[in-house]
Symmetry: C2
Subunit: 220 residues, 2 copies
């Protein structure tokens, strides 16, 4: 049977949310407790040689895939046949390629400069001024881009007029960034500095049962 | 007219190579001298609010896009009608989604742990043991994944039996990594440690006129 192997992390929750929203999709969810040594075991490394989550396999179609934003696209294109959560190429080439662009921007620029740095540096807690200034400058640049994009949006979502896989990608990592940095001196007052992002974040949290999915217990 | 704004950097060369290989594509190339203050000027920020390259615009189709790997996909799907350099969904779903997966892996894991760190750290030249060990451990993990993928390949290319946009994405950033780290103590002896990657790198450099495109002069 088609199976999603994942865990409640920033990247891991992305396909989890989409699968839960696509209530009828015949996909089994294997939710690891996190962290787990299982992802470095031989059976799992055969599916994902990096030992990372998430991974999606569908033996009936000879599909074995990873990379969270790639899974968002694959799952949407394959199972979201009513196009509730994505734009297809034949529906709108402009929105389809913007969707792809923002998924790359989320996985590269956003993740490199905000989530990854937040995770690494809150654990290492570096106190040199250069690192802090460099990090916060990049953070501000990325968040200004997102604030601008959301300011231009009439719907309040990243692209077009609906909640899509782009919103899912940003929401999961932004939620994770907040979980990791809350209470540390890397916490950013998004509400004061980036009001459109804060409004979008609350809107996305309250979309259908997204908040409940984000709070799913860590054990499977 | 459709125009590609780019420069001779790791990400900038990706769409440049594809456009040059697609000899008949009606695309004008605007090659910036690099670095240039022009990308932070108002006219360019309207096209790319982050002031980064590359950017692709096609007014006739209302297309304005960025993110280098997104451009590789857009340009291939739009102009590579003979499918010389990519796999389309109807040609092979498995290879199409692997292609997408490796483009995300290149833009996220590879870039975050090798190119970006190489660029940042060779300029900062940090000498603390933790940073160096952490960086080289991540580098080794990523390169082992690539070595494994290439060891399984019968064609010598990353996916399927042809040189694709996945090879272009890795080649450009790997070429840039070597340009930036050569002669520094961040140089890695890829030939000795990762022979399949070295063979692939030389094979890709010698594909059609790729080497010549990589060496295009910096002024336009």
């Amino acid at each position: 049977m088609a199976t999603l192997y994942t865990a409640p992390t920033g990247n891991g929750r992305k396909p989890l949310i989409l699968v839960r929203l696509l209530k009828e999709a015949p996909i089994k969810v294997h939710l690891f407790k996190w962290p787990t040594p299982e992802v470095k075991q031989e059976w799992y490394l055969k599916l994902n040689p990096n030992g990372l989550i998430p991974t999606f396999v569908d033996p009936s179609k000879e599909i074995e895939l990873y990379e969270s934003n790639n899974l968002l696209e694959y799952l949407a294109f394959t199972y979201d046949t009513e196009r509730k959560f994505h734009y297809s190429l034949d529906e709108s080439p402009q929105l389809h390629w913007q969707q792809n662009q923002w998924l790359f921007f989320q996985g590269t620029q956003y993740a490199a400069h905000t989530l990854a740095i937040a995770v690494i540096y809150t654990k290492k807690n570096p106190n040199d001024a250069f690192t802090r200034e460099f990090t916060l400058k990049n953070f501000n640049s990325i968040f200004t881009t997102l604030e601008t994009q959301l300011s231009k949006s009439e719907s309040g979502w990243f692209i077009g007029d609906k909640f899509t896989i782009v919103d899912i990608a940003f929401l999961c990592d932004e939620h994770r960034r907040r979980e990791v940095t809350r209470g540390t001196d890397w916490w950013i007052d998004v509400e004061a500095k980036y009001p459109r992002i804060e409004e979008w974040y609350q809107r996305a949290l309250n979309f259908e049962n997204v908040k409940q999915i984000l709070e799913e217990p860590i054990s499977s």
